[in-house]
């Protein structure tokens, strides 16, 4: 049910994009208005969400420590897994964000029985997650060739690396295959691993279908249903130079692709996809374990009612005296 709903939602969106591309009168809306709205929603939405998180303080220093603490000088500290300095925290966060350190932990299993294959599923999650996110990034970067004149070297290099196999014409991009495979895997494990299926929400299936739809429409456009690519770039450049134009005859598949991307961008700030910002703000990861070295301040720390020593002594003075325990007031 949750899955079907998400599936049909994406199909419906693709059809909307199709309609938008077909009708000349709608092309301006789907080619200019919606993309602008999407980018604005995305940027403002992300900033709003991050600022909203930042409105709540981090009252306590609660890193999850995953290695030896800073202690006696002769005990080797695990400076990244249990950082006590900001350098360490930076390294920890970099490993987390760039290499998914925590997910990788799943693989460290020994003394297993049976063939190796039988336990690999956890490592697969890490691998698929990594492949998916990195492909996504590479794809984003190489799309920048549509948005820049005199394309910067980095983008060119990224693109040539991505197509280094030199298979097919136009050159086949590795990341196209990788992202489709990774999304498929991430979807299948939601369907086939019962405990993951049990916890999955519509909000888990929807982005998978949406990204799958974006990737498929992109692949179709590049390799099969070719579009007027110079027109695409004209349109893209028009958007980023704030002189929007709608060149003729681009091809309807492009509008589907563009619309699905617009939906994704608008969807990000309001969904679990905000983990892209949240991962940087997680207090169990981005804090140094130095709370015994530097006092962490809780902005809403307030005085509490305590049972003072004097009250305590009043309660027990006689007993203390007869037991030979020193007291303040004789």
């Amino acid at each position: 049910m949750k899955m079907l709903f998400s599936f049909f939602a994406v199909i419906f969106l693709a059809l909307l994009g199709f309609a938008g591309g077909k009708s000349t009168s709608l092309q301006f809306i789907f080619g200019v208005v919606i993309p602008y709205a999407a980018v604005a929603t995305f940027i403002l939405g992300v900033i709003y969400r991050v600022a909203d998180w930042a409105r709540s303080p981090v009252p306590f220093r609660i890193p999850t420590t995953c290695g030896q603490q800073e202690s006696l000088p002769w005990i080797k500290q695990s400076k990244i897994e249990n950082p006590s300095t900001s350098m360490g925290v930076w390294a920890r966060m970099a490993l987390e964000v760039l290499l998914f350190r925590s997910l990788f932990r799943n693989t460290k299993m020994e003394l297993r029985e049976g063939p190796k294959i039988s336990y690999g599923s956890d490592k697969w999650l890490w691998l698929a997650g990594l492949a998916f996110h990195w492909s996504f990034l590479v794809i984003l970067i190489r799309h920048l060739r549509f948005f820049s004149e005199g394309v910067p070297l980095v983008i060119g290099i990224t693109e040539s690396l991505d197509s280094f196999l030199q298979v097919g014409v136009p050159l086949f991009y590795l990341t196209d295959a990788v992202i489709l495979a990774a999304v498929t895997f991430l979807f299948l494990r939601r369907v086939f691993i019962p405990q993951v299926k049990y916890i999955s929400q519509a909000a888990d299936y929807f982005p998978l279908f949406l990204i799958f739809g974006i990737a498929v429409s992109g692949v179709l456009m590049r390799y099969f249903l070719k579009v007027h690519i110079v027109g695409v770039k004209e349109m893209a450049m028009g958007l980023v130079t704030l002189h929007p134009v709608i060149p003729e005859g681009i091809g309807v598949i492009f509008y589907i692709h563009l619309f699905l991307i617009s939906v994704l961008f608008m969807y990000i700030p309001f969904s679990k996809l905000m983990h892209l910002g949240g991962v940087f703000l997680s207090p169990t990861r981005n804090l140094a374990n130095n709370s015994r070295i530097v006092r962490h301040i809780n902005p809403w720390n307030y005085p509490v009612h305590v049972h003072t020593y004097d009250e305590y002594e009043d309660d027990f003075r006689e007993k203390m005296k007869s037991a030979g325990i020193p007291v303040e007031k004789e």
């Binding site: 930042a54 060119g156 770039k233 893209a236 980023v240 910002g277 940087f280």
Partner: protein, 134 residues
């Protein structure tokens, strides 16, 4: 509204903006010249009917595929004649067919290829035509 760790949050947001707004600010002030492939070479002028081997729309989106097919059929299968959709025959040759008419690589091929940042590997093997400076 109080923002905690404002400094760090601010830097983070700036970095985020630097990434997502890159296409916008990197292009400010630039006036985009649309590519304008020229087909007024002397060779084309001489043609009675100014037509390529296939219709313009097809050539625009499929020329890379066609050139690739040509190369394969010439180099691997030794078939040198191309029959187009109208039944006309052409010699499959980049240098002798395509570039004969489009002798102005800079003003024809490079116009779009540079615009799109596409580097075709035709010229890895073929020698680019020497053009007269215009």
């Amino acid at each position: 509204m109080k923002i905690y760790d404002g400094g760090k949050i601010f830097v983070g947001i700036i970095i985020f903006l630097a990434f997502v707004l890159f296409p916008f600010y990197s292009n400010t002030g630039k006036v985009m010249a649309k590519p304008d492939p020229k087909i007024d070479t002397p060779e084309i002028q001489k043609l009675a009917v100014k037509k390529c081997v296939e219709p313009k729309d097809f050539m625009r989106s499929e020329h890379m595929q066609m050139l690739n097919d040509w190369r394969d059929s010439v180099v691997r299968e030794n078939i040198r004649t191309y029959k187009n959709s109208m039944g006309q025959s052409f010699n499959m040759s980049l240098q002798n067919t395509c570039m004969k008419c489009h002798s102005n690589k800079k003003e024809f091929c490079d116009q779009c290829h540079n615009y799109m940042a596409v580097k075709p590997y035709c010229w890895d093997c073929h020698i680019a035509p020497k053009e007269n400076k215009t």
